[in-house]
């Protein structure tokens, strides 16, 4: 009995039911729409999870929660185009190509990192496979509906499929150095793609022959080739972990040869060197604000990367790739003002509409526009100020973070077998190898 009461209480706390939507009216705020200018003393009305009105003097019925945001700043919910939070598994590092696996199968709604991201205004993130393999697994775009119990309720249903590719040191280290198989060099990495694409093409042809009755025996079903075929068909956006200019150019050339156009580079620390080429291809670039020098392929980096890319016409975004940075992406975006002097609107586009474009969800989120989803972050000061403190974070019109109702312990599912409380040393240090989770164990002999 007590259990039931407790469960009900929990549900009330987090207001969590399947794809729950809500009604919220935000009053008297500075409303930064990102795409359509900034309005002073304006209101935003969210009805049934969608933005219904933006303007002055909006009123709403009693079933709508009203937030007085006088003196505060409202912006679109922040979008992180590269993260690994809310995942039980990140790398299936057993093969240079694992296109068949999908991190959407390993969503963890109980990861407290989701709440911490919400407390930084982040409402959507791109939960990615790691970078152990040249062709990694498929990724999942999730909404931060922290409080839901079923992993499926994190999904942003309808978001385009995406897949992780990886160039350079990580796949070379895992497969070449770790196992003695191709790729051990950036030359080998290229061949993994060319081989996979070519085999998938043949595989499609075999199925065409079978389906048209030309052949009688069905080909051996192969989920890996199916997935790569879907890339060739344009059904999946490639998000490629990359650092060096040469390898970025390489993948663009490979894609050109196979007619692939949906391509976004991740990290892309040397993207600034090939910004004109990226712009000409139409490839996106999702970068760190200032991470560099933690390994050799990022030694020749610059924190001005985002600014150079943007000024050269590349659709650029700032990502976290980290459970730490995701908590203050608004601050990471502001660094483009120190390093490159971007305007407020440009800087904020890097964590809103631009990542939305890179994930193919810019028609639904990424700016405050009527008809878009009710994902909103409210800050005490301008979100690009170091002194800004997130006040509310709203997903689908449901308040998921409220600084005034914010108990310290936000864990949902507690494992009875775990110790009562665990202190982790070294959380102080950024884990630059987030991308390599689950992979290190595989190729480091005990």
């Amino acid at each position: 009995m007590k259990y039931i009461i407790y469960t009900i209480l929990m549900f009330c706390c987090f207001g969590a039911f399947a794809q729950e939507t809500g009604n919220v009216l935000i009053k008297n705020a500075t409303v930064i729409t990102v795409t359509k200018g900034t309005l002073e003393n304006a209101d935003v009305l969210i009805t049934n999870g969608k933005i219904a009105k933006i303007g002055k003097g909006i009123s709403a019925g009693s079933d709508t929660k009203t937030i007085d945001a006088t003196g505060q700043f409202v912006m679109p919910g922040i979008i992180d185009a590269h993260s690994h939070i809310a995942l039980d598994a990140v790398n299936e590092a057993t093969d240079p190509s694992t296109a068949h696996v999908w991190v959407g199968d390993a969503l963890d709604p109980f990861d407290v990192s989701i709440y911490r991201a919400l407390a930084g205004g982040v409402t959507t993130s791109h939960a990615m496979h790691g970078s152990a393999n040249a062709i990694g697994g498929q990724c999942e775009t999730i909404k931060h509906r922290y409080g839901v119990m079923d992993p499926n309720e994190l999904r942003m249903v309808g978001a385009p499929r995406t897949i992780k590719f990886a160039l350079g040191e990580n796949p070379m280290r895992v497969h070449g150095e770790g196992r003695g198989i191709v790729p051990r060099t950036r030359m080998g990495v290229e061949q993994v793609f060319r081989r996979s694409f070519s085999e998938a093409k043949e595989y499609m042809e075999e199925w065409d022959d079978y389906n048209s009755g030309k052949t009688k025996v069905p080909p051996v079903y192969d989920l890996k080739k199916e997935t790569v075929a879907d890339i060739l068909k344009g059904d999946i956006i490639i998000h490629c972990h990359s650092y060096r200019a040469d390898e970025i150019l390489m993948l663009m050339n490979v894609c050109k040869d196979f007619g692939i156009t949906k391509l976004c580079f991740q990290h892309v620390n040397e993207g600034f060197k090939v910004a004109p080429e990226l712009a000409a291809f139409g490839a996106g670039a999702s970068v760190f604000a200032d991470w560099w020098a933690y390994k050799f392929e990022v030694y020749y980096s610059t924190a001005f990367n985002a600014a150079i890319l943007l000024r050269n016409g590349v659709v650029a975004s700032i990502n976290s790739d980290s459970g730490e940075l995701i908590r203050h992406l608004y601050h990471e975006a502001a660094k483009t003002q120190r390093y490159g002097g971007l305007t407020d609107e440009e800087a904020l586009s890097l964590i809103t509409i631009n990542p939305a474009k890179q994930l193919g969800i810019d028609d639904r989120v990424g700016s405050l526009e009527v008809g878009k989803e009710g994902d909103v972050a409210i800050f005490s000061k301008h979100p690009l100020s170091v002194y800004a403190i997130p006040q509310y974070t709203i997903v689908d019109g449901v308040v998921r973070f409220d600084i005034n109702n914010d108990p310290a312990d936000m864990r949902i599912d507690i494992n009875p077998e775990d110790e009562v409380s665990t202190f982790f040393e070294n959380t102080k240090h950024h884990d630059h190898d987030n991308c390599m989770r689950d992979a290190m164990e595989l190729f480091t002999e005990k």
């Binding site: 407290v112 990192s113 911490r116 407390a119 600034f272 060197k273 910004a275 004109p276 080429e277 712009a279 000409a280 200032d290 991470w291 560099w292 020098a293 933690y294 390994k295 050799f296 030694y299 020749y300 980096s301 610059t302 924190a303 001005f304 600014a307 150079i308 000024r311 459970g323 730490e324 908590r327 203050h328 601050h331 502001a334 660094k335 003002q337 120190r338 390093y339 490159g340 002097g341 690009l384 100020s385 170091v386 002194y387 403190i389 914010d406 310290a408 312990d409 936000m410 864990r411 110790e419 409380s421 665990t422 202190f423 982790f424 040393e425 070294n426 959380t427 102080k428 240090h429 630059h432």
Partner: protein, 426 residues
């Protein structure tokens, strides 16, 4: 030797191009017309005269000496150079390449290894750091129990001696009862046993060090024993012990351990200081904490535990300095302080925590940490609050050297913002 031909320096400035850093210049500089944030004496409208590496004068309407380079900084702001009280700068270049890591010597008992020995003055990371206004840092060794001897360095110079800023401390990684990481499968019981054993070991070493110090009080009579020789300085109170400790219970244990030992000590890290702020204040020990930009150390800790930690300790009466504990991104020290300021500390106190407070802790407040006559000229000019993300640092002086606002990052920007050739090679 410090005096350099101004004309030569000027020549160097002209000849700079991408991927090549201009030279620092030395001389007499008059910074005119800025708001001076002295830290210790309030914010004033004044000129600042830099001569012989020192702040010669802070006053309004200073007449420029004959040989002075006058820099008009009206409408701008002058701050003392920030001090990062804990970094690995100069010791680690590329962290994933172990052979470029000089911060972690083999052994549990290596208090005698000197960070200053291994500092690479030409590290590419140093210019990247200083152009953010961080002029002085602690470079500290890590690993083992007594990790080694940390040094305070100024971020200008071509030899460690030129960089040395007058403070050394021995790093003690106090035995931790926390988990090392996700793969640490030890039970609470195991950890408790390990910790008790480690503290026993520490006590043993300390007893030996005390005995050694007593035995060799006036001159060394014992056999060559560099470890004990290094600890002797700590036992005698000549050198500070920098005690890295983070978990609540461990902090309490460390305070107890330090009690009654007549030595100079500072607690560093102190992630969970907010839980026992009063106990720390009562101990009288100063604290160097950070980074603020860190994930809380427990799953059930508040999301902002790292942001609010310094302010809670400060309000309880603890002397708090802030560090980045970083290597390539020590430049984020002002942002760490900015978050601390936003989450309760206030800008004024946060500024102190990266200037005068660490200077006082390290006993170098006569030289660093504020803008006062007679102190070393380590300061910068900015177009605003240095914690504010968009603020630009315009001029930089370290120990009187006028350091160019250039680093690999700015040079790459200059080269690639409009690449030539661009998309098409003509």
């Amino acid at each position: 030797m410090k005096i350099i031909n101004i004309a030569f320096a000027f020549f160097c400035l002209i000849s700079l191009n991408a991927q090549q850093i201009a030279k620092s210049t030395y001389g007499t500089f008059l910074l005119k017309g800025a708001t001076v944030h002295t830290i210790t004496k309030g914010d004033i409208q004044a000129d600042v005269l830099i001569q012989d590496g020192m702040i010669k004068s802070v006053a309004s309407g200073i007449t420029a000496p004959a040989n002075a380079e006058v820099i008009d900084v009206s409408g701008k702001h002058i701050y003392p150079g920030m001090i990062d009280a804990g970094t690995t700068l100069g010791l680690v270049e590329v962290s994933s390449i172990s052979l470029t890591n000089d911060n972690n010597e083999i052994g549990d008992l290596t208090p005698h290894v000197e960070a200053l020995t291994a500092i690479n003055p030409s590290s590419v990371l140093i210019p990247v750091t200083r152009v953010s206004g961080v002029t002085t840092v602690i470079a500290k060794p890590a690993g083992g129990l007594f990790a080694g001897t940390a040094s305070l360095i100024s971020l200008v110079g071509y030899t460690p001696d030129q960089m040395y800023a007058g403070f050394k401390g021995v790093v003690l990684n106090f035995p931790s009862s926390g988990k090392r990481g996700r793969r640490d499968r030890r039970s609470d019981e195991d950890i408790k046993k390990d910790t008790e054993k480690a503290i026993k070991n520490l006590d043993k070493i300390w007893t030996q060090a005390e005995a050694y110090a007593a035995m060799n009080k006036d001159k060394s009579i014992a056999d060559y024993n560099p470890e004990m020789e290094a600890l002797k300085l700590v036992v005698n109170g000549e050198r500070m012990l920098m005690v890295e400790v983070n978990k609540k219970d461990d902090i309490l244990t460390a305070i107890k351990w330090l009690k009654g030992k007549d030595i100079k000590a500072v607690l560093t890290g102190v992630t969970e200081g907010y839980k026992i702020a009063k106990e720390i204040a009562d101990s009288g020990l100063p604290v160097i904490t950070g980074p603020m930009l860190a994930v809380p150390a427990r799953a059930e800790a508040a999301y902002d535990a790292s942001y609010t930690n310094p302010s809670i300790m400060l309000k309880a009466g603890v002397k708090v300095a802030i560090r980045s504990d970083d290597t390539e991104n020590v430049r984020n020290l002002p942002f760490n302080a900015g978050f601390a300021a936003a989450y309760g500390m206030g800008v004024e106190e946060a500024l102190k925590a990266v200037t005068i407070v660490p200077a006082e802790i390290f006993g170098v407040a006569d030289k660093y940490g504020s803008i006062e006559e007679g102190k070393m000229a380590s300061l910068f000019v900015s177009d605003g609050d240095p914690f504010e993300t968009k603020t630009q640092i315009l001029n930089l002086f370290i120990n009187g050297w006028n350091v160019p606002i250039e680093s690999r990052h700015t040079l790459l920007y200059d080269e690639f913002i409009e690449r030539s050739p661009g998309l098409n090679k003509k």
